[in-house]
């Protein structure tokens, strides 16, 4: 999806990091098995988090074995074996990617639309293999339609579209669960979805200003001079390389960061109500590290704020 939901690796226990990598490889393998080889290219950290979270809530333990794979043909890697959580995550990823692509093909312009059109037959065939999730597909479609309506209206709020995307992810996190687990997972998914939307908007703000594409942050700050919104800053990518790019100026970035932490309190409140005492210890560690340390750190990176 977007890849903003990742753990803060230096603060993980070694056993947690090992399991995290095994879940990553396991999900990739499961996607190959359930939704076809092409779907493996859409693997993202966000869905790895979904796997860790769902297995913690459903108390599914991962078993790890070493396998070779096409990307790493020489050295066998530890991979988590397929389980119902992976099957679900692969299906949900297929649905979301296919719907997003169809949406881009209809809404976007230029290169993004051409790419979306080129990929849509592949997405359709992947989507067809995600069996038994029609209800979810329908709700994802509804939310995306709602979102593009807000965007074409030029909605001058960051909260409103973020909430719609939050609802979408809340559905994905909660699908198939019941009772309190369903409610808590929905709340967690919604908070994660809002976070992804805000991080993505902040990440793209400078580019969107240049190309004239809709961006909720640009609309919210429409009363300021558009040229004054950005400063040239150094941004680290995930491999630790530095890039010099225009980013939101520091006071606006700080303001968005503070609001995001205030919003994440809702995630914290939900996580505090989930019983992690009976699930695999490492998965609970991955979920907490990602939520409490990974998300703030990722947003600071996107906003080019110092640690």
């Amino acid at each position: 999806m977007f890849g903003y939901i990742r753990p803060l690796v230096p603060q993980m226990l070694v056993c947690e990091n090992e399991l995290y990598r095994a879940i990553y490889c396991g999900l990739c393998r499961a996607m190959g098995k359930h939704t076809g080889c092409a779907s493996r290219f859409t693997l993202s950290y966000d869905f790895v988090f979904l796997c860790a979270f769902r297995s913690a809530v459903e108390r599914v333990s991962f078993t790890v074995e070493k396998h070779r794979c096409p990307v790493h043909p020489f050295k066998a890697r530890a991979m988590a074996n397929d389980n119902p959580v992976f099957t679900y995550a692969a299906g949900a990823a297929a649905i979301l990617n296919a719907a997003k692509l169809a949406d881009d093909a209809a809404d976007e312009s230029g290169r993004k639309r051409a790419a979306a059109r080129l990929l849509s037959p592949a997405a359709k065939s992947i989507r067809k293999r995600a069996a038994g999730l029609d209800m979810l597909a329908e709700s994802v479609q509804t939310r995306l339609t709602e979102l593009s309506a807000l965007e074409s209206d030029g909605c001058a709020s960051l909260d409103e579209p973020a909430r719609v995307f939050g609802d979408l992810l809340g559905n994905i996190f909660a699908h198939g669960l019941t009772g309190n687990e369903e409610r808590l997972s929905r709340t967690v998914g919604a908070a994660v979805g809002r976070f992804i939307y805000v991080a993505d908007a902040a990440d793209d703000a400078a580019e969107d200003a240049k190309s004239g594409t809709y961006n909720p942050i640009l609309r919210l700050y429409a009363d300021l001079d558009p040229a004054s919104l950005f400063e040239t800053k150094t941004v680290m990518d995930h491999t630790g390389r530095a890039h010099t790019k225009p980013r939101l100026r520091t006071d606006i970035a700080e303001s968005i960061y503070t609001a995001a932490l205030g919003d994440l309190i809702r995630l914290q409140n939900a996580l505090e109500l989930i019983d992690f005492s009976r699930c695999q210890k490492e998965t609970a560690g991955i979920v907490k590290n990602t939520a409490y340390l990974g998300l703030p750190s990722e947003l600071r990176r996107v906003l080019a704020l110092p640690d």
Partner: protein, 206 residues
């Protein structure tokens, strides 16, 4: 002065909800902005004033405080259409919990009069709805426009301190400060004191 119920066109025994509805419909209808280009704004303003006074009067009567004079303080007073009186009305509505009414007035304020206080109140209304990102923007703008105002600074500080609580259950239980040696000593001494108070003893030597 005319009967406030007649002005709003409602029966004397109408519910609060109906009165509010009638008031809102009229306020929207006679808003001076609707008349800006027809040159009738002054008449609309007068009408608006009458409506506001009637609404205030009914509210006061129903709250049990009888009032002889229909005091000012309506949303759209005569003179300059949007003085600080508007915002007093917004605050009043806000305190009574009528957030959507407060927002209605705020959204009707023309661009040119959206100063620090407008931004602050807009932020408060959004906050009430749980819109944190939008609220943050408006409250920051209020602080920027009027850096010396204590109220705005306090609101900004509240948002910040709320945000600083994020991640605390994790960082304090697992990593970060945790329980250092000196904490342990302090806790033990405290526990000892408490035991002694109750007649017991935890640490024999002290």
């Amino acid at each position: 002065m005319k009967d406030p119920y007649t002005i709003l066109g409602v029966a004397r025994d109408a519910s609060d909800e109906d009165i509010k509805k009638a008031y809102r419909t009229l306020a929207r209808k006679y808003h001076p902005d609707n008349y800006a280009d027809s040159g009738l704004a002054d008449l609309a303003e007068e009408k608006m004033k009458e409506i506001n006074e009637a609404y205030d009067a009914i509210q006061k009567m129903r709250a049990g405080t009888s009032s002889d004079s229909y005091g000012a303080g309506g949303a759209y007073n005569a003179g300059s259409a949007h003085t600080s009186g508007d915002f007093a009305r917004v605050r009043q509505l806000f305190n009574m919990g009528h957030f959507s009414d407060a927002e209605l007035i705020l959204n009707a304020t023309p661009q040119s009069e959206r100063g620090a206080e407008w931004n602050f109140l807009k932020g408060c209304v959004l906050l009430q709805r749980g819109y944190l990102y939008d609220a943050q923007k408006y409250i920051d703008t209020a602080c920027y426009l009027d850096p010396s105002n204590q109220e705005y600074a306090a609101a900004k500080q509240r948002l910040r301190s709320q945000a600083s609580g994020y991640g605390s259950p994790y960082t304090t239980t697992q990593y970060g400060s945790g329980c250092s040696g000196s904490d342990l000593c302090t806790s033990l001494i405290c526990a000892d004191c408490l035991c002694e108070c109750c007649g017991g003893d935890l640490i024999r030597c002290c």
